[in-house]
């Protein structure tokens, strides 16, 4: 393939890189933060548009775009938009970090080679550590969480390299098409653990609650949707190396364990961001189960529609939930008391999102869960499926508790003043698709078409 064609594949990444340089340059030239932020948003929108118009093709030994990469790119860039709109940018640093992380995700999407996957993985993660450290005005807890995140990420990177070395040693290639064998299986398992680390699967999740709690709400939204989608893509690439291998067969169990663990711990949380952090673990469990089922069914890109839809729905649901936290300033469950009466519009949108996260029809969350369950059923994963059903029930427990706080509890006499930020528009933009996508199964037909590109 010609260099020009490869360049065409990489157009979104080039826009992001150009945006990154532009943002840094504008910062040095002392442009206003508002301008810099607009530049970042423009770059993300441009990348989204180019990714949408891209023509998948084989590319060369390092990069290539298949239906999976094509679809995931859309999720990545869309999931960055809430953060881009809501973040407080006082200088060029934060916008540059966001664009850098997105560039990493973009590279991940077009990687046709394990080494490229590693580069994408690291590039998406490094800016994220710094973004976490800068959260809440660089508060102590945020820096601490960032360090924890960094070490967890470093361990994940190390595992990946170790696995890659083993893979290369036995397979003599870093491409996705090795001859296989025990060395490959062991390498995949090690690299796969790195992906599970990134997704926050049990028992590699220990960094997750702290990081998700210490970050600004909109950043947590980004971490839990865009970066998580990146981790999922990594996981799928690795599972596809050996769909019937030991690692792929273990995935449903990891998924079920993650789900139950996250859901049980979320039940007990009083602080909202921590609750949503554990709940995002439960969702990650569903997704991992979906990846396991996908691998068991042969790992063809067109069959990934369940996982793709879940991530797309989750993008709206979770970013919406975090933009609600941003918009109202609510921090604990007690802050929610009586909010249904005090702030009916935001509360209604949040209620819709909670029902969606809980998987209640007719919301997008319902269809997402249904597709995962269905895929698991088709793949004969009956026990993980039953555990997932139990997890869905547990999850509904805490989402209903939040609904109860919103509407059924009265506000305390002297309610502490919340510090509302912006975000109502983003909240509604997320709530509406979360509400209606569940009764729009034709979206699935469209998604299957994208995946089969």
């Amino acid at each position: 393939m010609s260099a020009a064609a490869v360049g065409g594949l990489l157009a979104p990444q080039m826009v992001l890189a150009a945006g990154l340089l532009g943002v840094l340059g504008a910062g040095m030239a002392a442009f206003s933060p508002k301008f810099i932020k607009s530049l970042m948003i423009l770059a993300i929108l441009g990348a989204f548009a180019l990714a949408f118009g891209a023509h998948p093709g084989a590319g060369d030994a390092l990069v290539g775009l298949d239906g999976l990469g094509f679809s995931w790119q859309l999720v990545f860039y869309a999931a960055a938009l809430p953060l881009a709109f809501l973040m407080v940018a006082e200088s060029e640093v934060a916008p540059a970090l966001v664009l850098g992380s997105l560039l990493g995700l973009g590279i991940l999407a077009v990687s046709a080679n394990l080494l490229m996957l590693f580069i994408g993985l690291e590039l998406m993660s490094l800016p994220a550590y710094l973004l976490v450290a800068r959260s809440r005005g660089g508060a102590k807890t945020s820096v601490e969480a960032a360090i924890k995140y960094f070490f967890a990420g470093g361990a994940a990177g190390g595992l990946f390299l170790l696995g890659l070395a083993l893979y290369y040693f036995t397979q003599k290639t870093m491409s996705f098409a090795g001859p296989g064998g025990f060395g490959a299986e062991a390498g995949i398992a090690l690299m796969g653990s790195a992906a599970l680390f990134k997704i926050g699967a049990f028992p590699l999740h220990f960094w997750l609650p702290d990081v998700y709690e210490a970050s600004d709400p909109e950043l947590t939204g980004f971490l839990s949707t865009a970066l998580k989608a990146g981790g999922v893509l990594l996981l799928m690439r690795l599972a596809a190396l050996s769909p019937a291998g030991a690692f792929s067969r273990a995935l449903p169990w990891f998924g079920a364990a993650t789900m139950i663990f996250g859901a049980v711990l979320a039940l007990k949380q009083e602080r909202l961001q921590r609750l949503l952090a554990y709940s995002s673990m439960a969702h990650a469990g569903n997704i991992i189960l979906g990846v396991g089922a996908w691998a068991a069914l042969g790992a063809s890109p067109a069959a990934a529609v369940a996982v793709f839809f879940y991530l797309a729905a989750y993008l709206f649901m979770n970013n919406g939930a975090f933009s609600f936290l941003k918009a109202t300033g609510a921090k604990t469950r007690a802050d929610l008391h009586g909010l249904g009466a005090r702030n009916p519009k935001a509360a209604a949108a949040f209620a819709v999102l909670l029902l969606a996260l809980g998987g209640v029809p007719p919301t997008a969350g319902f269809l997402a869960k249904l597709l995962i369950f269905w895929a698991a059923f088709k793949a004969h994963l009956y026990i993980p499926l039953l555990l997932a059903a139990l997890g869905a029930l547990l999850a509904l427990g805490y989402y209903l508790a939040l609904l109860k706080d919103l509407y059924f509890e009265d506000a305390p006499a002297q309610a502490p003043a919340l510090e509302p930020g912006r975000g109502l528009a983003v909240l509604w933009t997320c709530a509406v698709p979360a509400a209606v996508l569940g009764v729009a199964p034709w979206v699935l037909t469209y998604m299957s078409r994208l995946l089969a590109l």
Binding site: L355, V360, P361, L393, G397, F408, A440, P441, L444
Partner: protein, 479 residues
Amino acid sequence: MIFSPLTILWALPIVGGFLALALRSGKRAGVFSIALSLISLAFCALLPWREGAALAVTGPAWAYGIHYALSMDGLSWVMCLLNAFLTVIALVSSLGEERSAGYWAAFLFLEGALMGVFLASDLFLFYVFWEVVLIPMFFIIGLWGSANRKHAAVKFFLFTFFGSVLMLLGILALVTLRHRATGVWSWDMQGLQGVATGPAAWAIFAALTVGFGVKVPIVPLHTWLPDAHTEAPAAGSIMLAGVMLKMGVYGFLRIAIPIFPHLSWRLLPWLAAIAAINIIYGAFCALAQSDLKRLVAYSSIAHLGFCLVGVFSRTVEGLAGGTLQLINHGLTTGALFLMVGILYERSHKRGIRDFGALFGQAPWLTFFFSFSIMASIGLPGLNGFVGEFMSLAGAARVLPILAVAGVAGVTLAAAYALPAYQLVFWGDRGPSSVSSHVTDLTVREQALLWVLCLGMLYIGLHPSGLLSVITPATKGLAL
């Protein structure tokens, strides 16, 4: 075509719910909602459906064989009619209190979703409506219920969701097995007979039984019911007992039994045991209650047991009687909850011993309560007798011991209902009696109860009117 009378039947209340919300003022929303519910009742009553599902809609396939598909037969029609009718009763009965627009909207959403449940002929659509029903009821209990409402609302939602998740797994299994057998993805309710065999059939039938059983509710999945019924506002209890419990039996009639006609017949002793336990256990629990509303709630468990007896017996008269009993229970229990709600509204008490000698104070209330209690315990000439008699007659043909348990239940019903009735209306007033706060019925309340009680009388004297609609739809399930 998607646009058909059936679509209007469920969409009209839902759109109306949004409009009621948009009206903001509770008063205007109330008038609007009542007008709309009357229109939907008239619309439902006048629908030109014919047996054999002449009135059906099938939209284009969405994905994976999911269709927008509705159909109406006699069973659907009577359930929709009951739903529309009780919604009118529930809404009009709420006129006495100051309610916000959200209250009225919630009832309209509930009505629309329930219509969808009774109309859907695609399993996906059925499940969506089945779950959507929970959302408005969750808010009705949690926002406008009495003291323990928050707990009751969450418990109600979680319990039913538990059943629904199992049911969903069962549905998924059926759809997937059909695909394995025929190579076609389809969520149509028809044509699933025989796709599951062996242990898979057992497992799926068990999942469906739990899913529908939570709604009925069958003992021991019933514990959400006393809380939800007691804590809900009166109008909410009317809808809960009057229509929502019927979803479970409807599920058996529409899905579980048609798909597993032989398995459900082989399991008859077990299913019959469930129904018998419901009757006896519900009655004994009702016997032990000191709270009037809780008593009516537990009596619902017993009454729904009669419906199950008839349905599981799989005889023509049993199936028709069990279905008729669904309607009967909607009318009688609707009336009883309405009157208990009126008592509570005036005195803020619900205990049986909080009242006494209401007769002189409130003769109309006494009259209607006597009437409804008599219908409830199955006095010949009123509706309850017909339904119970037919159910038990059906049971006696296939499993006489079941009929014996049923007759014991009838006796027990008299044992729990009459003493409570006697104490409240004729007994002595205790020192803490609040009877003096109870004023007689207003014209509006009388009108509602006249309608309900005349309905009971009509079914009691002329059951063939409804039976001629129900029997053609249910006799196909008879063996």
